[in-house]
């Protein structure tokens, strides 16, 4: 016991237990108060999101009637692209809302308490390439249990980046600024392939044949997504454009490519936003990482403490919080992963007050600071060395 490296705090075990009990009190009190208002929140949000997605796609279609070939007064590339951009933004925002504030939280079982058969973690499928059940395993089980524990939490650097000096340096990390940008652009694909099984195959612990069923399962979901965004919606537009092209000299192929391109941009938009918010959750300056031995025999209070020290919040207005899926309240989300997300803003001041009372840091800053330090960290840690946050942690 004495050889065990403690958590980086100057609190006694009794204080940590007390801290845990106070956290529990906040949690259970908020759980008790859930009711009709919360249900209306998620139902309205889902309605809004689906309307936005549909409207976005229809606006993209509408923009095709402004193509220069139509020859009417409003026709022209600038007007086409402006209207199309509007549609892309609507669709991109809808995808962001779906992925972050709706699906992410539904899959955390935050809304299971309603017992609404339509909004259940075990049946929800989300608008991204990763199948819900796979993501729930790698995220809810692995990441949320083993938050920021080296060699346990796959999300620490996602296996390709060095995000803490505790990770030993190797030359491959020199290229991590490139991975950083690539992962930002291809975040959806990255999440779909975020599987321990793939690493096992790469390290020759498993044969490729063993993970074939898993790959098929992921493949089916990816195909569904690709078919929707890059075949069905552009295809329908091209199909309609085919007879029209006899009258209006516009190639159906251009129409197809325009719609597919619009959908692609919407997907990229979602990728970048999700990446920025999620990377601000665990990688800005001042976030702590842990070793496996530090978590051995962890008590409830110590677990809370690790979640607090290992997460970072982003400050902002109500709209920003919704658009970030309330992951701007990453600390609260990690402390209470199955509390419905619309309640995070209200528990945040109480969590902060509690942290202050115990002299613990509460990592919260605007987006530019959190993402800026994340980016700087990434650059610095691509080289050997680096600095760890001060121990013991103090506010």
């Amino acid at each position: 016991m004495s050889t065990k490296r403690p958590l980086p705090v100057d609190l006694t075990d009794e204080q940590i237990d007390e801290f845990g009990r106070e956290m529990d009190a906040i949690y259970y009190e908020t759980l008790e108060s859930r009711g009709e208002k919360d249900r209306l929140y998620i139902l309205r949000l889902i309605r809004t999101q689906r309307s936005m997605a549909l409207l976005g796609r229809l606006v993209i279609y509408a923009s095709l009637f402004l193509l220069p070939a139509w020859g009417h007064a409003l026709a022209g590339w600038p007007s086409t692209l402006i209207v199309m951009a509007l549609g892309v933004i609507l669709l991109g925002l809808a995808k962001i809302l779906e992925n972050m504030e709706i699906a992410h939280n539904v899959l955390h079982a935050q809304w299971d308490w309603m017992k609404d058969p339509e909004i259940q973690s075990n049946t929800w499928e989300w608008d991204t390439m990763s199948p819900s059940d796979r993501w729930m395993h790698s995220h809810n089980v692995v990441h949320h249990t083993w938050t920021n524990v080296l060699e346990k939490d796959l999300d620490v650097g996602y296996g390709i980046m060095r995000v803490t000096p505790h990770q030993p340096w190797k030359p491959a990390y020199l290229l991590q600024p490139v991975y950083f940008v690539l992962l930002m652009l291809l975040f959806e694909e990255g999440v779909a392939l975020h599987e321990q099984a793939l690493i096992d195959v790469a390290e020759r612990k498993k044969k490729p044949k063993e993970i074939l069923p898993l790959m098929k399962h992921i493949g089916r979901k990816v195909w569904g997504q690709v078919r929707k965004d890059y075949i069905m919606w552009p295809g329908l537009a091209a199909l309609v454009a085919l007879p029209i092209s006899l009258v209006v000299p516009e190639s159906p192929l251009i129409v197809f490519l325009l719609v597919a391109g619009a959908n692609f941009v919407a997907n990229i938009m979602r990728n970048i936003w999700a990446f920025v918010i999620i990377f601000c959750g665990h990688f800005p300056a001042g976030v702590y990482h842990f070793t496996q031995e530090q978590t051995e025999g962890e008590s409830r209070g110590q677990w809370y403490l690790r979640q607090l020290l290992g997460s970072a919040n982003i400050t902002g207005g109500p709209l920003f919080h919704v658009m970030s899926g309330n992951l701007s309240h990453q600390i609260e989300h990690h402390l209470f992963p199955d509390l419905c997300s619309n309640r995070y803003p209200e528990v945040a001041p109480r969590v902060k007050a509690l942290a202050d009372r115990y002299g613990l840091p509460y990592n919260s800053a605007p987006l530019w600071r959190q993402f800026g330090t994340t980016w700087l960290n990434n650059l610095r840690l691509s080289l050997p060395g680096g600095t760890t946050p001060p121990e013991p942690a103090r506010a």
């Binding site: 859930r34 009711g35 009709e36 208002k37 919360d38 249900r39 309605r47 689906r50 309307s51 549909l54 079982a109 299971d112 308490w113 309603m114 017992k115 609404d116 058969p117 339509e118 259940q120 973690s121 075990n122 499928e125 989300w126 608008d127 979901k221 569904g224 997504q225 078919r227 929707k228 069905m232 919606w233 329908l236």
Partner: protein
């Protein structure tokens, strides 16, 4: 033997293909999820009904007229539906009998709900449901209906809101103009507190084959205010020749069962139960260790709490519906051990048996595929 393909199947298949293609546009959702934004009644992935009218029958009973959505199937008089209602943000499901006849020509149906003291959902329906609200409903189901062909002479014995299936049957028979000679004994607290009281009395006056006997339990003398065989002999001397359709509280149904049993006529008695009638729990009922195999979870349970509740208390969220053993949504395979059916008191201990976890409790250790 080959089953003949019913006519009208071909366009169905064509429609299914079309909807499969249109669903590709909505992946991973279905087109129906977006159609719902326009009108919840057009959805096909779940069924809604819109409240088009509410009517207070008595001070604590209300008839709700509902317009069902696409894919609705006409009910047979006497059948019930499941209704899902959110109260305090939580979704509850209850079963209510349809009180209207299927012959209604406006495509609507009615349920008549009496507010039960302490009943959360019935209170919500009677007091809070508004015209224009959408509520999730299930398809009509249930075995309690009149046979199509055989010319039965029915005897209806109903009490309180147990009138609803009988009302649907009588209304339907009248609409079809084939009401046979019918006797109806109905128990209600007061004359003014009788659900459908005025309609029943009007039918009694206008329909030559319909004979109503009202028993007002709070007004009648003590020996006349509840069902007895003597009362039955007086009100309906030919009851042995009739097919009895009964619906009401457990005490009434138990008395009926005793009477028909003694007369050796159990096959002539048809009963619809409102609440699952639980068998008395023996004093030596023991619980045990319940293992939810699929969730890899072990919990202790007593011999009285239903296993659905046990699973929910353990943090699981198994699919469920009526919570009273009617709808079979919660059917689960018993992989090992023994459970007791709370309604009959019977033990179920065959591995592989399907059990309704909402009406079964542990009887010793058991393992469920949940």
């Amino acid at each position: 033997m080959t089953t003949p393909v019913p006519q009208g199947k071909a366009p169905r298949r064509w429609l299914a293909r079309l909807s499969a293609i249109s669903d590709m546009f909505a992946f991973p959702l279905r087109t129906s999820h977006y159609v719902e934004l326009v009108n919840p009644l057009w959805t096909t992935h779940r069924m809604h009904a819109r409240v088009v009218d509410v009517w207070d029958e008595t001070r604590d009973a209300r008839t709700v007229t509902l317009k069902p959505g696409a894919n609705w199937r006409l009910h047979r008089p006497g059948q019930h539906i499941r209704v899902g209602i959110p109260v305090d943000g939580r979704h509850y499901t209850r079963t209510y009998t349809i009180s209207s006849p299927p012959e209604r020509d406006d495509g609507c149906f009615t349920i008549t709900v009496k507010k039960i003291d302490g009943g959360r959902l019935s209170h919500h329906i009677v007091r809070n449901l508004k015209v224009g609200d959408f509520i999730p409903v299930g398809l009509p189901q249930g075995e309690f209906y009149l046979p199509d062909a055989s010319p039965v002479q029915p005897l209806f014995i109903t009490a309180g809101s147990g009138i609803t299936p009988a009302m649907s049957m009588v209304r339907s028979l009248i609409a079809q103009e084939r009401l046979p000679d019918t006797v109806h004994i109905h128990y209600a607290p007061h004359e003014f507190d009788t659900i459908f009281g005025r309609e029943l009395r009007r039918l009694d006056e206008t329909q030559p084959h319909y004979h109503l006997h009202e028993v007002h339990t709070r007004q009648a003398p003590a020996d006349e205010n509840h069902f007895t065989e003597a009362q039955l002999e007086r009100l309906c001397p030919d009851w042995r020749e009739r097919d009895c359709y009964a619906c009401g509280p457990p005490a009434l149904l138990a008395a009926l069962e005793r009477t028909w049993d003694a007369a050796g006529l159990t096959q002539r008695l048809h009963i619809e139960r409102f609440r699952a009638d639980f068998a008395p729990i023996p004093d030596d009922a023991v619980g045990g260790r319940v293992r939810f195999a699929d969730s890899d979870l072990d919990v202790d349970a007593d011999g009285e709490t239903n296993l659905l509740r046990v699973a929910e208390d353990a943090g699981l969220n198994p699919p469920h519906g009526c919570r009273m053993g009617i709808c079979h949504t919660c059917n689960t395979t018993l992989t090992a051990g023994c459970v007791r059916d709370l309604r009959s008191g019977d033990f179920i201990n065959e591995p592989g048996a399907i059990v309704q976890v909402c009406v079964c409790a542990a009887a010793g250790d058991c393992e469920l595929a949940l």
